[in-house]
Amino acid sequence: MTSPNIAAGCAAPDQSAPLPASVDLEKETVITGIVSNADGEAVGGGYVRLLDSSGEFTAEVVTSPEGVFRFFAAPGSWTLRALSRAGNGELTIDVTRGVNEVALSVAAA
């Protein structure tokens, strides 16, 4: 059990790091995955936005060099939208408590 640091910031933690041991998967709804381009190569340095069921912005992270992103959300319907130099992509998903793995591809418009 770690005590939450109330002064902790709002920036995203390292996206490629393993889930911290303090994260309780009985309570958290984790959405994680890899952004890849049309050739299946990982897209690092891309932006992934999490939009709620009304399309409103909820969070955004930068993908790790391996293309990995991760959100802590809640059960329900969410849209993931990726923006990158290699193009953009979008996917709507239904998630449940625990870890939800998603593959997100981007392509030039």
Partner: protein, 282 residues
């Protein structure tokens, strides 16, 4: 203030990278972004290490801010161009400090790191060496900073703008969705606060929407132009983004940022809290 004096474009920035008297400053919470590549010539400011007091929960005081800028080689007469990740949240937070401590010429780079990245503009890993300066911060301008008692008194009286996501406003989430949700404070929002997520003010590439679009967004949300305004979020950096929009882009008078924000308010004993999607009653 207006867009012309508070904001510069990525094109302007790329043309002025080597301009005399212009200092680019990247402000982030996670400075590994800077270390992996930044706008050529930019110095870095670490949101936590450089801008927060190391012991008390407060930000750096006048002397600490003077020492920080002197050490980074920034003078009182330099034009400071701030940018960063997270759609410029932390850059906007630093902009608010620069204004609070009386810096004359400070601007935000529209779109920050994201626009720079998506435009495929150049990065550098070289860390510039700047000669030490002798910076003198002014006494803090508290007309742009709100404290908790003033916020409690503002319920039902002033415009309170909650810029967190709708789920945080309603109390369904306690933190932005890229962070674990276990937090010490209660969920919900300050009664009578309007929910206008900071993201309404930004385009997908991180740039600010036009003045016309911005005026419409806050007008339709019910912001009363005849009243003073206090913006808040969770820790005060997303609300700096909205403070920047209202005060610096739209030119509204008497706009304050409540940097204690929800991590303070939601931990106070006995203050009123509203749950759900509606502002609630005073």
């Amino acid at each position: 203030m207006s867009r012309d004096t508070a904001l510069v474009s990525a094109d302007w920035a790329e043309k002025n990278l080597d301009a005399a008297g212009v200092v680019f400053v990247e402000v982030d919470e996670d400075t590994t972004a800077y270390d992996g590549g930044h706008i050529p010539g930019a110095v870095k400011i670490d949101w936590k290490q450089d801008l927060q007091d190391p012991v008390r929960r407060d930000f750096v005081n006048q002397e600490q801010f003077s020492a920080l800028l002197s050490e980074r080689g920034i003078g009182n007469d330099d034009k400071v161009v701030l940018y960063g990740g997270n759609n410029n949240w932390f850059a906007a937070y630093a902009y608010w400090y620069f204004k609070l401590y009386g810096h004359r010429d400070v601007v935000l780079l529209d779109g920050g790191r994201k626009k720079w990245e998506l435009d495929a503009r150049p990065y550098s890993k070289d860390v510039p060496t700047r000669a030490k300066a002798s910076y003198q911060a002014a006494a803090p301008d508290l007309s742009i900073r709100a404290f908790r008692d003033e916020v409690v008194q503002a319920i039902g009286v002033k415009n309170l703008v909650d810029v967190r996501s709708p789920d945080e406003f309603a109390g369904r989430l306690l933190a932005p969705a890229h962070l674990p949700q276990e937090q010490s404070q209660r969920a919900g929002h300050i009664p009578t606060a309007l929910s206008v997520p900071w993201s309404k003010a930004a385009n997908e590439d991180g740039t600010f929407k036009s003045d016309e679009e911005l005026g419409k967004i806050y007008g339709e949300a019910g912001l009363d132009g005849s009243k003073d305004t206090i913006a808040y979020c969770r820790i005060g950096e997303r609300s700096s983004h909205t403070w920047f929009v209202l005060k610096e882009l739209l030119g509204q008078q008497n706009v304050k940022n409540y940097d204690g924000s929800w991590t303070e308010y939601g931990s106070l004993i006995g203050v009123p809290i509203a749950l759900g999607d509606e502002p609630g009653k005073a």
